[in-house]
Amino acid sequence: VAAEAMSGTAAVVHDLALEAYGFGEGHPFNPLRIRLTLELCETLGLLAGYPFVASEPATDEGLTTVHSLTYVRMVQKAGRGEANLWDLMPYGLGTGDNPIFPDMHDACARVVGAVLQACRLIMRGEATHAMCISGGLHHALRTKANGFCVYNDAGVAIARLKEEHPGIRIAYVDTDAHHGDGVQWMFYDDPEVLTVSMHESGRYLFPGTGGIDERGRNGAIGYSINVPLEPFTDDESWISCFEAVVPEVLRAFEPDLILSQNGCDGHALDPLTHLSATTRLYEYIPRRVHELAHELCEGRWVATGGGGYDIWRVVPRAWSALWAAVSHQEPLEKVPEDWLAVRGTESPVKLPLLMRDDPADYPLPEHASEIADRNRRTTEELLGKVLPLIHGSVAP
């Protein structure tokens, strides 16, 4: 695809209210990462000319496309402090991972509404690409909060788009370090939704699922794709696996829109996972997804955030690169001094001075070639199993 063809307008959906989604001091999921990222983008000049697009919270009707009404009512009660902890826990609420917080229903519904807004902007043709970094809560299940995720923004957005545009084919591409289980299960028997998740193998990491044999069900076998990666997988092997799988399965599927989940918790510094990626990966993936969106679906692409628990050194730089790709801007080289002057003093760790990690700081993991071999065998076995099963849209 020629460079000039890969244009189109970009939009960022955000407002301050979205930053209410968080679980309080001391919890790894900290909305400060959103603030840090947007401030960094702004200081880099990447947001000039891109006013934030506002959005409305998702309605109960929207949420119940993929969640049960009982669960939504529970979240509402929890946020009002009206429910007993023992009644909430079966719904995954009030646990160490998903503590209750005031007005949590509203905060969570806003995230869903924002991602839905991003999708609608694209479908109305008001933008070609859109980003909402508060989104990406891919673990939320139909009746349960799971892994820091209360409502499943991608799940609701996909279900709503399917209602509003019957026959639409959506490819969901999830490169968070954790398996995108919630979204996968919501569309496990839907051949109009292709879910692709690349993640650290469930043998080592939550949620434990996402093996290559989870391939979909009933008429949708082949439409759930999982690439479980070995612990300590580095950029090189990650990128090879991405290239081996994602372009081919997307081309076979022929999506009308790509929704990507851009968790950056596969970075070597992330405290919750055991992968060894650097900013190189988080610059590479969105650029490739962008190219594929232009190749396959006239650029229609919505990018969300996701996991990312080194909120100082990793998330702001990784998601600035994401926004640069979404908005056709070149990522800058240096972390701006103005940003460092303010945030560097608050950070508990020394902040990097460059936007890109220096490979010298990230020596190859031990057994890197064995790890790459195992990953390669995984992708070969996977492709052999799924590729023959994926079919594109029926020709008009």
Binding site: T95, G96, H139, N146, R203, L205, G208, P231, L272
Partner: protein
């Protein structure tokens, strides 16, 4: 919970002794099953697997194979001395029987009636349920001295941290880690958290040895 009746398949496809091997094999293909109990007057009189049927006739490619399969009756091939299970047998006991006898299924009999069949796939399903492998969770293996209170102590740490235990399975006795004495035992936990780091830290500080997830 975890009895044979909780895991067995209740809709059993059974045959009469006069069924031909060809008919029985066709049924295996259509229904995608491998084990066929044989009933006579409602009583279980034998069992045959698709492999028994295939190996009773001349090999594939032999011109006489098709005819042989037509002429063979299942009663000529079936195993008459059937190993069975009862609905209230614990699943682990049934699994052990299958393992010791090297068989792939147990017909389940209650008061002389065939009420179900337990296959190795059903046992696999029970294992998945038992370990919670189909539910979101993090796998954590902690080794501890094999004495009263140690498992409770580990479980208590998860409790204090607000982490629910999806499943716990105690492994066999093992050698203690270097510098420790007496038998140790590992417990395999599946815990409902995306972030086991704090739990691992607490466990190690309390003297448990965390064997999984592996460290760099």
């Amino acid at each position: 919970m975890l009895l044979v009746k909780d895991s067995m398949t209740r809709e059993v496809i059974a045959l009469s002794p006069g069924t031909t091997a060809a008919q029985a094999l066709a049924l295996c293909r259509e229904e995608r099953i491998r084990h066929l109990p044989i009933l006579e007057d409602g009583r279980l009189v034998g069992i045959a697997s698709d492999r028994d049927l295939r190996s009773a006739a001349p090999a594939l490619g032999d011109p006489g194979r098709a005819e042989a399969l037509q002429n063979l009756q299942i009663s000529d091939i079936m195993t008459r001395d059937v190993v069975t299970a009862r609905p209230d047998d614990p699943i682990e006991e049934a699994a052990n029987r299958m393992r010791e006898k090297r068989i792939g299924c147990l017909p389940v009999v209650e008061d002389g009636d065939l009420v179900g069949i337990l296959t190795s796939s059903d046992v696999m399903e029970a294992l998945v349920q038992l370990t919670g492998a189909h539910e979101p969770g993090s796998r954590l293996v902690a080794s501890m001295p094999d004495r009263p209170g140690t498992l409770a102590g580990a479980a208590g740490i998860f409790g204090v941290l607000g982490i629910n235990i999806v499943s716990v399975v105690a492994g066999p006795r093992q050698e203690p880690p270097p510098g420790e004495q007496g038998p140790w035992r590992a417990a395999i936990f599946r815990i409902d958290t995306i972030d086991p780091t704090e739990a691992i830290e607490f466990l190690e500080r309390a003297g448990y040895s965390v064997l999984w997830p592996p460290k760099p």
